[in-house]
Symmetry: C2
Subunit: 358 residues, 2 copies
Amino acid sequence: MSHNENGFKMRQNEKTSKITIDIVAQKSGFSRATVSRVLNRDPSVKPATAQKILRVVEDLGYTPHSMASALSGGKTKTLAILLPDLLHEYYTQLLAGADTTAEEHGYTLLLKTRNTRKVFQELVEGGRVDAFILRYAGPASFDEDLLKYLRNRRIPYIVIGTPPFLDTHPAVMIDNIGGARLMAQHYGVHGYKRILFITGPDHSNDSKDRLYGFKIGLSEKGVDPERIVVEEGDFSQRSGYEVAKRCLLQDQFDAVFAANDSMALGVIQFCQDRGIRVPEDLAVTGFDDTFFAGHLQPPLTTIRQPMYEIGVVAVLNLLRVMEKGEQVESRVILPTKLIVRRSCGCNGEPMELSNPTT
Amino acid sequence: MSHNENGFKMRQNEKTSKITIDIVAQKSGFSRATVSRVLNRDPSVKPATAQKILRVVEDLGYTPHSMASALSGGKTKTLAILLPDLLHEYYTQLLAGADTTAEEHGYTLLLKTRNTRKVFQELVEGGRVDAFILRYAGPASFDEDLLKYLRNRRIPYIVIGTPPFLDTHPAVMIDNIGGARLMAQHYGVHGYKRILFITGPDHSNDSKDRLYGFKIGLSEKGVDPERIVVEEGDFSQRSGYEVAKRCLLQDQFDAVFAANDSMALGVIQFCQDRGIRVPEDLAVTGFDDTFFAGHLQPPLTTIRQPMYEIGVVAVLNLLRVMEKGEQVESRVILPTKLIVRRSCGCNGEPMELSNPTT
DNA sequence: CTGAAAGCGCTTACAG
DNA sequence: CTGAAAGCGCTTACAG
């Protein structure tokens, strides 16, 4: 039963039966238990034995049935990733990073974008996954009970983003404060004083941190942080547009800093519609550095967060937690940097600014 | 054992044992078999019985172990989706559509972006999924043997895109020819004659169809399709830039039509770098209508394909195939439309043009 | 309409 | 270092 280039067709012709561990056992002359052991790299098996068995596995093109091994105590080798949606670049980059890293380590991702309690429960009770990656995005996405539940059941997990929980959980976050502070300092060099800040939705801690960091940077530059105007958006392009419409026509501003790029885009669109020149009449900046930021007119000055890398780090740390058991210290904060383009009023070459230490 | 708002905590306290079908059987006074039947909506069960059992299921918060049911002949309720990557908007939109639709129907997606034969085999032999969604993207992503293999094993699948296979497989495609033809006709109204067409990679049938449709439209407008210049790209922004550099400095063109938006973007960037005005000196158009297309300067005229909907239709049709067995006629072609913005030389309001019938 | 029993394909103590 | 056996939690003929 040799193997040619076309391993598939051969099997089709046999067609007879699914190849099971028992067949491997029989052909190799060892027991099912021993075959299982070599498949799971049990070091107690004599190397020569392992050799022989592996050879048969190879010849037969045997692949263990993952459902069976999961049921009998093995692992599923799959990770659940819970995301609010896939429509924003932030989430897809995250997913791409997580997926690539998971595959590199032999894991598969199970994607869920409807994070109801029921979905969650089915994943856990159904024994479908070994661990969870949870992107926190507001109260609706999941609550602390869910995390406690996972913890009690000893199911490894990691959360992405800044949840408003008092308790600490394994998490990967970004330096929102440092990034926004950089922006404030840059506003300082431009001398902007009359500033509009557009927040994300009320529950977003990421947004809160950005505002906080921005205020810190402002006072460092001698601007009274309490004098800026703060308006609430919801991270959507539309909300940026709406806030702009509501505020820009009333008061006179030097600059607006939106808590993400989408809202900054909304602001810029409003300006275009009303003939407000950016950045001559008004500077506009964002947060994220999504793909379109660099292609806007004018190109958007923004804070870059490493979206893809967040996904990578999340699975890497989750894997560590899975290996070493629950009590691995696993909170990481990834750096952000200021990407200076033209919407802030600069007009030279694009440049990047990082925090000295964060 | 009533259920309060916090179903999770309660279970934590019991902590004792996982709730299995046997526990449900015992508490309800029926056999395991009967419980299984009601869970699987077997119509032979007496309604009153089903009622009682369901009540117990509810009270206990019982969730079947999916690995166990999969192993014993049930379904996994999961669909594998194989994508070349997640970096391009095309794929993520596709994924978003597929994911939403799958969840609506009680399915979960298993995502794979490394489509090696090994990965494929593990999914099939490992019994991890009920069916496959395959995005065809060139020879490396998968070959016809794989499809035959699935077919022989009676594993439902659907392919997305236009594969170069002679044999027919369930598939969802888009009207590449019709879309490109629309573009050609629009070029006709602008009177463009000296035209550069940038293709995708050699193996891309989507690209070939776009070129084909474009030529048809051209001749309909009295332009000799053999006089246009055709250059090969690979769908990347960089390749668009490179082709532009190679060609635009040599010959004089009225317009370039790139087989996707990314390459069009590359061309526009090159023009910016060299001070070539778009569309005054050169019209540039693309294909896809990705998010950034409308935000480019000038906004990109392009052909819109319904990326999200492709994902939706793919799982819907796959579900039909799964229900009705293999021989469901299931090939669909989704329409495309011309989105006129400004990069083609128009300067009015944006507008859309569809094929009368496709 | 319902139940007892076999079986899905593995893993893992328990012996030796 | 290896094997026989029990068991994971379900589904599905087979009887009745």
